[in-house]
Symmetry: C2
Subunit: 144 residues, 2 copies
Amino acid sequence: MSPAISATPDALAQRLATSGLRSTPQREVIYGVLLKKRDHPTADEVYARVRTDMPTISLATVYNCLETLVQCDLVRAVNFERGPTRYCPNLRPHAHFHDESSGSTHDIDLPADLLEKVSAVLPPGYDAKSVEITFRGRATKNSS
Amino acid sequence: MSPAISATPDALAQRLATSGLRSTPQREVIYGVLLKKRDHPTADEVYARVRTDMPTISLATVYNCLETLVQCDLVRAVNFERGPTRYCPNLRPHAHFHDESSGSTHDIDLPADLLEKVSAVLPPGYDAKSVEITFRGRATKNSS
DNA sequence: GTCTTAACTTAGAATAGTTCTAATTATCAC
DNA sequence: GTGATAATTAGAACTATTCTAAGTTAAGAC
Ligand SMILES: [Mn+2]
Ligand SMILES: [Mn+2]
Ligand SMILES: [Zn+2]
Ligand SMILES: [Zn+2]
């Protein structure tokens, strides 16, 4: 089992420390915002949400902190189309379903064996460190 | 069997016609450039290659034509990280392997049943129109 | 063949998203 | 506390892309 599978705000200080980084109010509130509403917000959206708690934060800091969280493996940067990067704090293996009618993105949990099956298609000489799966289509009802 | 699985320059005029669009020298040379070197170039890279044949073409036209080719389903726009969109004329079902040491992107053909297996993880209410699979890692030797 | 009209291309301006720079502020080790 | 280092900040700069408005080309009507 990989470490910090259940992401909590407390996990943050630990992860930062093991990377030789400091826990700061800005990093904490940004991580909290990501955990609170897991709708894959953009940096701008994170900025807007963070400002209600911390009105003096700068957009540059939001970018800096998001990048830090990604480097710590607490957050995934998600890019499946042209347009701003989105951020996802879900650390379980999961795919993304992009609902083209609503523009929203949903997490789809993946059974452990599926990623193995998918990776099995790689010819010899290809060594994959990660796999990303993205669906596009319509989701009827069921928002989360 | 889906139409125009084997992409040729000739397929272009047909596809454009059925979409009510014109075949133009710019569209032809851009599509030819994509077919000739299938390394998932960016719009800027396409622009540079096209200019050796057609020095007066504009970058705006390159963007316009690439978008047209994507709309005609002759080319896939590929986005798996922040940065410029890349373009792929491979119409077979395939995944992308992004080699992080070289920065290059390789096509990985997918067996027909794999996409079904992958789509089977979707809960009821999710109707996927397309699936994208991206690997990241190192490819030892074997460039194409 | 000319005319008409719509499609297409073009250069350059504008925009969006992100990164960089340089100055300030906060934190840590001692 | 002092000095060194890390982090934040505002704003400028940058990259990729889209928009605008003008010019060009080509298809269809006659
Ligand atoms: Mn969308
Ligand atoms: Mn890369
Ligand atoms: Zn996610
Ligand atoms: Zn491809």
